[in-house]
Symmetry: D2
Subunit: 220 residues, 4 copies
């Protein structure tokens, strides 16, 4: 890619002051965006085969749990009344299949979820919009959001943007996010790395979690 200055995009972005490394804080949380059956079941119209994403995210959660890191799952789910009124569904009518109480909105049971984990029900792309996620993380004095899930070009991107706007460092382990198509996936990882958070290997993310004091977050 070249920019309008004839420079490669990376040089244009360096000139603009993007892409610095973010802080890896002492008190992270893991935010697992929309790894519900509606997104992880390849037979669902809104789904894709995210087997590898689910596996990598499971490894990350296991590492985080050992360090006392809070885990937050999100799901999109609509009431019948919302199906008629949420403006986003006019642009993305396929999302209206995500009906409250249906299997499509349940968290994929391959993920290691416990009762201690949080479940946030959302109505839009971002896990922060119209939810108490920012308040929850602030109440836990979390400083870093490790964002996983689907889709990279939709809810993950929107969540990463809102996480940093909300005052949290953002890490996105690349193996822990997935999408329906490669082009938007790659383009959004590029944008996230440039502007909103650090896109890292899941191995690096797990080492970071392993390096925390085991009582880092729960000890408050």
């Amino acid at each position: 890619m070249t920019s309008q200055y004839g420079l490669p995009t990376d040089k244009t972005y360096a000139r603009a002051g993007f892409g610095a490394a973010v802080d890896r804080g002492a008190r992270p949380a893991i935010v697992v965006v929309d790894l519900t059956n509606g997104f992880t079941d390849p037979d669902a119209p809104t789904g894709a085969d995210l087997t590898d994403v689910v596996a990598a995210t499971s490894d990350l959660i296991t590492a985080g749990r050992a360090a006392g890191v809070p885990v937050v799952f999100t799901t999109i789910a609509y009431t019948p009344a919302e199906t008629e009124s949420v403006v986003w569904l006019r642009k993305a009518p396929g999302m209206a299949a995500l009906r409250e109480g249906s299997p499509a909105v349940a968290i994929d049971d391959r993920l290691p979820r416990t009762d201690a984990d949080h479940l946030i029900t959302k109505k839009g792309a971002s896990a922060f919009f119209g939810t108490t996620l920012a308040a929850l993380l602030a109440g836990l004095t979390v400083d870093t959001a490790v964002v996983c899930g689907a889709t990279t070009s939709g809810c993950v991107r929107a969540t990463a943007v809102d996480a940093v706007q909300s005052g949290f460092s953002v890490l996105v382990p690349r193996e822990c996010v997935g999408d329906r198509a490669a082009g938007p996936h790659d383009a959004n990882l590029f944008d996230i790395q440039a502007k909103y958070g650090d896109v890292i290997d899941v191995r690096e993310a797990i080492e970071y979690l392993n390096g925390l004091r085991g009582d880092a977050v729960t000890a408050r």
Copy 2:
């Protein structure tokens, strides 16, 4: 681009139920994102040559004003204390050049701005995040946000996502948005058209505004 199903991305997206046309409401507002000198001056490190974007947006504003459509300009501007504390600036330190009171944060004076227009100062990517923009638009019973400005892959994208999440139909006239580099610009217009709003020609946007009753919005 092909999706993970071997389908072209457009067929995968049609299957998922994306890309429907949004309502063109009777009470739009024009939201002009960050067409400040810091973004429109090609000599500014954070800037680019957005002469064509400024010209197309000026035409759109002129059409909107004749129809009584509210116009909202946004700027990013930081106090010295914010420069030290806003977490986003650790990832995007170049943005810290946008100091409150400096020429970089002033709206580009080629735009036809009046005292009746709104000016929203923001601290993040989205024009809605940490601002009263949603409340302002609700108070005017606006139903549609026509989003212009810069950059397509940053603040315009974030604003489009938040606009539809906030309950407003989103229209993005493609000539009225610009970026530093073509790749992210195109990729984000693709995402917006698929998931958040209609990317349309500025000619279509102006015809839509011309077709409104002249007192549509101000008459409330």
Copy 3:
């Protein structure tokens, strides 16, 4: 009550410019705050006898429904994980009894609720905080929120403040709100009338709804 100037409070407030009458808009919504069993059952520790409030609110809803006015119910409900982490519950630990799925968080079935009505689950005092209520109302181009429910000094007050901040005129029919004790009830109606919305008789509220075109809101 006297103010620090030796003036009666009403004269001090008139000098400060409070208490003007708000617009009764053409597109209201009815917001019924927390009329769940946990609040309306006098045997619940968090409850009170709100029989009259439920009756007056039912009359109001019936009038609104005939005019096509949207109705939104709210409930406070916590997951086990939230019970441990929501900071508000440290100040108000009694609220932790409002467990997701329990009878305490179900809407009082004396109210005329239908599947077309909205149900917003909240975690704090305000019906707007951490919810999509503002986006829902904006998406319906609502201009006026008629706020009912319990308690006047808690969630009703917080909802009224957020409603006007969010861009909606606020009407509070006095017979449709209730509390556990008379002092806080009266003091908060005083504050609401002075600063946030019009406290009116339910008869006036019903006449207002009866005067709307029957298709006012649903026709959009």
Copy 4:
């Protein structure tokens, strides 16, 4: 005051589970609400004589600064366009005198303010609504908001409610908040103490700040 059960209000509130003591966190911030000339100048229509409040708040800030505690000032200020469109100003038209750039919206210069302090411009009652205050506090991993300022029954109350909803423990030093009239002042301190935060003596607040490690907050 008696409740509807014939119990004194305090027993009714104890039964409901209100009024528990909140955590005094290791990382507080001081939030000074609207101690601008428009509120502290008794000759301003919206003002009152808050000399004692300004003095007590100054002492608190001095103690906080020695402990490295962040200080945030807020002001309400409107552009001409906002004066015409902010819905709150229809109920409280006197607030429209708080024009951007006027002396009325400047922080009272008796307060010990420095360039390191934050200044948040708001458009409504709450210091959190339509601002980046929650994000700022989260980014500083603040856990406790010490709320000062004016008026107790308006912006202080609204800020206290939003602070705890946003995940922060709330402390309100009673000498550091003031109002135009005694009745609403007392009634709102009652509500805050019961439901949102601890109303404490300024002496206790200063001792708490003195007891912090000097580098508690700035060291992150």
